[in-house]
Amino acid sequence: MKSPLLENERFVQIAAPVFVGVVFLLLWEAVVRATGTPVYILPGPLDIAKAFVADWAVLFHSLLMTLKVTLMAFAISVVLGTAASLLFVQSRWIEVSLFPYAVLMQVTPIVAIAPLIIIWVDDTTWALTVCAVIIAIFPIISNTTLGLRSVDPNLLSMFRMYRTGRLQQLIRLRIPSALPYFFGGMRISTGLALIGAVVAEFVAGTGGTQAGLAYLILQSGYNLNIPRMFAALGLITLTGIILFALMVWLSDRVLRNWHESALKVEQ
């Protein structure tokens, strides 16, 4: 027996993972109840939901703090990363001299340098932002540089034939060619900005009005308020997913007319 709803591709795409999620949550709740596991070891989904509602004010405030750092770091990464890429493609010399340092920045564990940055930068929000930028900027730099170099060689020949200047070449040819790569970089970068913001806050351990979701998790851990810990964790994950989806949507909007990645192919 087949219902017409199950043949709808979109419906199945949404319904199937939701179904798996609901089954998982039900099982979780059942196991927690059956074994009588105390809330401070593993709360059931219902306990977490209750904490979510009860602590909403605190959670939301922390979320805003984390989101602020994440978005600032992301914006700075996009601007500085793009600027660096544009600089790199101007001359082989600049790229060869500076690119290794971009890699160096990427491979240094942020947890290891965060304490230094927190000492050097007075304002906590800025200190966290700097940490997040350090890890979020690399995908922008590497992807955009790659994109600016990935130009159809024949089109480039044509521009050369017309003795076109560098600026024209950049605007008319290199930047449009780089867009798909740039958006690819942005997708990775949003996630890293969020991770950077959370990790840096774990290291900084800032409390008070500046407290973000990471601090909330730490604090809830100390207080054995495990349901709230799960609620904060859930919020971080949800934020990451929303930011990622936003980037996918944005790149789809910009590229949908011409780039393969955004095409809907009918089989």
Binding site: D152, N154, L155, S157, M158, F159, R160, M161, Y162, R163, T164, Q168, R172, L173, P176, L179, N257, W258, H259, L263
Partner: protein
């Protein structure tokens, strides 16, 4: 150069076939290559002692096995890359004298080489943009170019929405929009199916005739070369050089009858034999 636009199409039609068949007689050299060598940085000798003069109104094909340097030669004629020895001149002058605009040259690449992010119209106007030509007159020229390749309804389409043959026609329109005298084509129809290719060959001949172009056309195909050209230049590889220059004296306009004629078959045989010799020499040199 006479103003071909003004005289079209009334004058083109009655133009005698004699004139069209042998425009080389008395025609000015448009591009000439003298004793040219091209050695790449890795030591590959792409061309050795090449001499070739293309005169006004000629349709010359460069034919040869892979690696014979025909594309390299064409690129040198476009002023892309420097010669290692010898000289390339346009209208009997050095590049420094004529400059890019003075050469009135357009290049059609192997693939359509369109900007995928730009609509057809924007692609066609690219050479005008690069030359910083603006104004209502340029819009008219774009319309005309699209008209001539039969794509006036597709100005707002994106390249990926078009078939391979149509993309190639956009590429030709882009070349036409600058009103060139010299059209350099690097295996432009190589990737297309035979039907489309034959159609585009006929379109090209029609446009060549109507606009009074001079064409240098690189191809792999003996049939295509014979069908289109009034001269087929056969090249050999290792090192790349010209070994034969076969005049094709059949009158224009050429059509389906020419494709199936014994005359056509005869020329094809001759050119194939020359190509055979070229391939053998290249093999021996390996």
């Amino acid at each position: 150069m006479t103003n071909v636009k003004a005289t079209r199409p009334e004058v083109v039609v009655p133009m005698s076939t004699e004139q069209q068949t042998r425009p080389a007689v008395g025609g000015r050299p448009v591009v000439s290559v003298r004793d040219v060598d091209k050695v790449y940085g890795n030591g590959t000798v792409a061309l050795k002692g090449v001499n070739l003069t293309v005169k006004e109104g000629e349709f010359v094909s460069l034919l040869g096995p892979s690696g014979c340097g025909k594309s390299t030669l064409l690129r040198l004629m476009a002023g892309l890359g420097d010669v290692s020895a010898g000289k390339v001149s346009w209208w009997e002058q050095d590049y420094n004298v004529v400059g890019h605009k003075g050469r009135k040259l357009a290049f059609v690449f192997q693939n359509a080489t369109l900007m995928p992010w730009a609509r057809v119209r924007k692609n066609v106007r690219l050479p005008l943009d690069l030359n910083r030509e603006k104004g209502p007159e340029t819009e008219q020229r774009i319309d005309q170019a699209l008209d001539m390749v039969g794509l006036n309804k597709f100005g707002d389409a994106y390249p990926r929405e078009l078939s391979g043959g149509m993309q190639m026609r956009v590429s030709i329109a882009r070349a036409m929009v600058t009103e060139p005298n010299l059209l350099l084509m690097d295996e432009p129809f190589g990737a297309l199916d035979e039907m489309t290719r034959n159609k585009l060959n006929d379109d090209l001949l029609r446009l060549w005739k109507a606009n009074g172009w001079t064409v240098v056309f690189v191809t792999h195909s003996v049939y295509e070369a014979v069908y289109l050209s009034n001269r087929v230049v056969v090249m050999a590889a290792r090192p790349g050089r010209v070994i034969e220059d076969v005049p094709i004296e059949a009158p224009y306009p050429r059509g389906q009858e020419f494709r199936v004629s014994t005359e056509f078959a005869g020329y094809c045989r001759r050119v194939s034999e020359a190509l055979e010799v070229a391939s053998r020499q290249g093999e021996e040199a390996k």
